[in-house]
């Protein structure tokens, strides 16, 4: 009686028989869901240079020569010899050195290292150029030098003069084998952006003691009179700067969103640019998977991206340029497949109106805020749970 009673009302609806299994595929947020992505970056020149340091070839070259000063400005440094002569060679050229004498080295010149010049080929400019000239004396005694240091740019020459002693080695501790004493510093006006072509010592003359070779400091083991330069400049972009446009696939883009059956996605980005460069992205398209891609048919026509042209304004550290972008991805038919790559034409050029602007490691692109709005639902397939 009891069992019969309890069985009544326990009848099962076979449409809900669990032995058939329950599909675990779910589609969430069928209308739309907004996802705050947050902020990305900043992607600065400094961080790019740091990552380039590990890249062989051009990366190592760039990271070796281009440095940052205390304020973060990108600077180029170069140093080399202008003139050097061994004391024995000097005696030989001077002839009679049995009494104190004056020796004229005359006109000595050199040119700045290739890296500064190479900046011009890249379309970059040099500003705030500065040259320091140093001299070292290998003798035990003080030696008086006279010369007219000068630097030459395409637009002008800049000359100074020096006359005075260089202390002998006896006056200081020998931490190093040589001691360079600055004899001149020349700063090129900031409105001149031409690279310094040469550094010259005119009317170089030495007042030497008798038999100078006998007066070298045996502790230093240095026998050379040595004149060298240290050159620094700030790397800048000018009004006419423009990189060769990159037109082709953008590497590293791989979004496997196909299984999630997303119909439409809108990405809103607030971009802040402190680089004095404007970026234009044109003809933005999604690519077919590599295995079915060929040279004639590369673009996936099922993925609609709008707008096709994106413009990002250039700015500065003091006045960042803010660009609000809205990018929409939509499936032409059905849902969005995997995005296997993007292609676009990317042009980078100086932002008009800014003039020549020095570059700083702190400049860069900053995604101040980003969010995504996904419409039509996100499907989580059964096998991915």
């Amino acid at each position: 009686m009891l069992a019969a009673l309890l069985c009544i009302g326990c009848t099962g609806n076979m449409d809900y028989d669990l032995s058939k299994g329950i599909s675990k595929e779910v589609t969430l947020f069928e209308n739309e869901i907004s996802v705050p992505v947050g902020s990305i970056g900043p992607l600065t020149i400094g961080s790019i240079l740091s990552s380039l340091g590990s890249v062989q070839g051009i990366g190592t070259l760039v990271s070796t020569y281009i440095k940052q000063d205390a304020e973060g400005s990108l600077i180029l440094r170069d140093s080399s010899d202008i003139f050097r002569i061994n004391v024995y060679e000097l005696e030989k050229k001077a002839g009679d050195v049995s009494a104190p004498f004056t020796w004229n080295a005359g006109f000595q010149t050199t040119s700045i290292g290739g890296m500064a010049g190479a900046l011009g080929f890249l379309g970059l400019k040099t500003v705030n150029q500065q040259v320091k000239i140093t001299a070292s004396n290998p003798l035990y005694n003080d030696v008086t030098f006279r010369c007219k240091p000068s630097v030459t740019c395409r637009a002008a020459d800049f000359t100074t003069s020096y006359s005075g002693p260089i202390e002998g080695m006896s006056e200081r501790q020998l931490k190093f084998r040589t001691y360079n004493e600055q004899i001149a510093e020349i700063k090129i006006p900031s409105n001149i952006s031409d690279v310094i072509s040469s550094i010259t010592l005119e009317d170089l003359a030495f007042d030497l003691p008798a038999n100078p070779s006998t007066k070298t400091d045996p502790r230093s083991n240095n026998l050379f009179f040595h004149f060298s330069y240290n050159y620094t400049c700030t790397v800048a972009v000018g009004e006419t700067f423009k990189l060769v446009p990159i037109d082709g696939p953008i590497k590293g883009v791989n979004l496997p969103i196909g299984p999630y059956k997303v119909k439409k996605c809108r990405v809103n980005v607030e971009l802040q640019n402190t680089l004095p460069l404007a970026v234009t992205i044109e003809n933005l398209k999604a690519l077919l998977p590599e295995e079915i891609r060929d040279e004639e048919i590369m673009v996936d026509e099922n993925i609609l991206i709008s707008p096709e042209t994106i413009s990002i304004e250039g700015g500065s550290l003091e006045n960042p340029a803010t660009t609000n972008l809205t990018l929409e991805l939509e499936a032409a038919d059905g849902t969005l497949p995997d995005i296997s790559g993007l292609r676009a034409k990317v042009t980078v050029a100086s932002q008009p109106g800014l003039g020549t602007v020095g570059l700083s490691a702190r400049q860069g692109l900053y995604v101040k805020s980003a969010s995504a709005v996904i419409s039509g639902g996100i499907t989580i397939p059964e096998q991915q749970q």
Partner: protein
């Protein structure tokens, strides 16, 4: 006498069969001769003789959603409500504002009743348990549709469970042939209880970020163990102390049942009762609180290096963890909380056919008040009682739709066996007890012995 006997049996009703069911219970018992525990339904009911009952059991499930709200047959398979083949209208329109599932178990340890002149006395010892959950429909709306609104209010979400013992003394007095009244006083002794209550849970969604404003209290008795807080003051559910647990009963309280019975004309019985009016003061030795506002605004300054390493998803995972950590439960001072137990109002009418007394018809009405979800129903009843067997069937309409019930009573010498079942329509998941539709399902089994 016969009238008294009928009165006794008549209102035997509801609580009947079910030694320890909450109120609503055994309404069929009203129409079954031989049912001896009618005083549980209406304290005014008296038996002719003394009675003893041991180990009777009752179970009730009251839920305003069923499995068919969440599972859908499609092409020979079952899919969940979040499957793309299930439209939002089909899923969400079928859900109430708060999806609730509650259950109750009554177990009678011992019952004893005796007559003294016009009065009938009863004593009982029972154990009762209840459990349930209230989940806002908003959660399912967000999962199904997304964030179509910007603000969502999900306060009043609740999980609860409790168990307590009852020591009951009942008294009923027959004032006249046509009128009786009765009362039962219950001493309630709390055993364990859990209450996790969200008094405030406001969600705000926008493209800039998500924000949760939360106020939730956890109350858990500590007779089983004391949950120790971690170094930051959050409850660590893996660090339990038996030494610090509460060794006394977790609560105490009182409740009363009241009832009146009237027989205005021969063959007609009218009954009205109010059951379980009272409450328990619980001592929650484990108390906690989740409160405050927390926001999710995405990653902050994700670096080039992280992008190159593919760390984006990792960053979001970490953010998700910190977001949910903010919802953790912070240890709070132990709480003393008075809480009402669900009370029930029952009404019934029975009329025995004058031409054939074994056949009777009637009607019952029932209202259960439970915090968060009340329930009511009305039924029409048809019954037949023979010398050794009684059967009744009923049908009606409740808060969740049509209902029906069946009851049986068998008399073997002085033993009285009663079984009853009450349910809604809609069926179950095959081979399980899980209902497909919202319903109020009651199963009762009882055994008594006449003294």
């Amino acid at each position: 006498m016969r009238l008294n006997r009928h009165i006794i049996i008549a209102v035997a009703a509801l609580a009947a069969a079910t030694a320890a069911l909450p109120a609503q219970t055994f309404h069929q018992g009203l129409f079954l001769d031989g049912y001896r525990l009618g005083y549980r339904y209406n304290p005014a009911i008296q038996n002719e003789n003394g009675v003893v009952g041991v180990g009777q059991w009752g179970n009730q499930n009251l839920n305003n959603v069923g499995a068919a709200n969440f599972l859908y047959p499609r092409d020979g398979k079952l899919v969940t409500a979040l499957h793309s083949s299930v439209s939002a209208e089909e899923f969400l329109l079928g859900l109430p504002d708060y999806c609730s599932y509650t259950g109750g178990i009554d177990f009678n340890l011992f019952s004893y009743g005796w007559r003294k002149d016009a009065a009938y006395h009863t004593v009982e010892a029972n154990v009762r348990a209840a459990y349930g959950a209230f989940i806002p429909e908003t959660i399912f709306e967000i999962l199904k549709l997304g964030t179509s609104n910007t603000n969502y209010d999900m306060g009043k979400m609740r999980l609860f469970g409790n168990a307590y013992a009852e020591l009951v003394y009942g008294y009923s007095l027959k004032v006249s042939d046509a009128f009786s009244f009765g009362a039962r006083a219950k001493l309630l002794i709390g055993v364990e209880a859990l209450n996790y209550n969200f008094s405030r849970m406001d969600l705000t969604f926008s493209e800039e970020g998500y924000n949760v404003d939360l106020q939730a209290d956890l109350n858990l008795t500590s007779r089983w163990s004391k949950i120790m807080p971690d170094a930051d003051g959050y409850l660590n559910f893996l660090d339990l102390s038996l030494k610090d647990r509460w060794k006394l009963p977790s609560g105490g309280g009182l409740a009363v049942d009241l009832g009146i019975l009237a027989t205005p004309v021969e063959g007609l019985t009218l009954s009205a009762s109010l059951l379980d009016l009272g409450g328990i003061v619980w001592y929650y030795g484990n108390a906690g609180v989740s409160e405050g506002s927390t926001s999710f605004t995405g990653v902050t300054d994700l670096t080039l290096e992280q992008i190159q390493k593919g760390d984006i998803l990792g960053e979001f995972n970490e953010l998700g963890k910190s977001f949910f950590e903010s919802l953790r439960i912070k240890s709070a001072k132990s709480r003393v909380s008075p809480e009402m137990i669900p009370f029930t109002v029952n009404t019934a009418a029975k009329y025995e056919m004058p031409f054939y007394r074994a056949l009777s018809i009637g009607a019952t009405g029932n209202f259960i008040f439970r915090k968060g979800m009340s329930y009511m129903e009305g039924r029409g009843v048809l019954a037949w009682n023979g010398k050794y067997l009684g059967i009744c069937a009923d049908g009606g309409y409740g808060s969740f739709g049509p209902v029906y019930g069946l009851g049986l009573n068998a008399s073997i010498w002085k033993f009285r066996i009663t079984a009853a079942m009450s349910n809604g329509f809609g069926g179950n998941i095959p081979y399980t007890n899980t209902p497909l539709k919202p319903n109020n399902k009651v199963i009762t089994l009882g055994l008594t012995y006449d003294l």
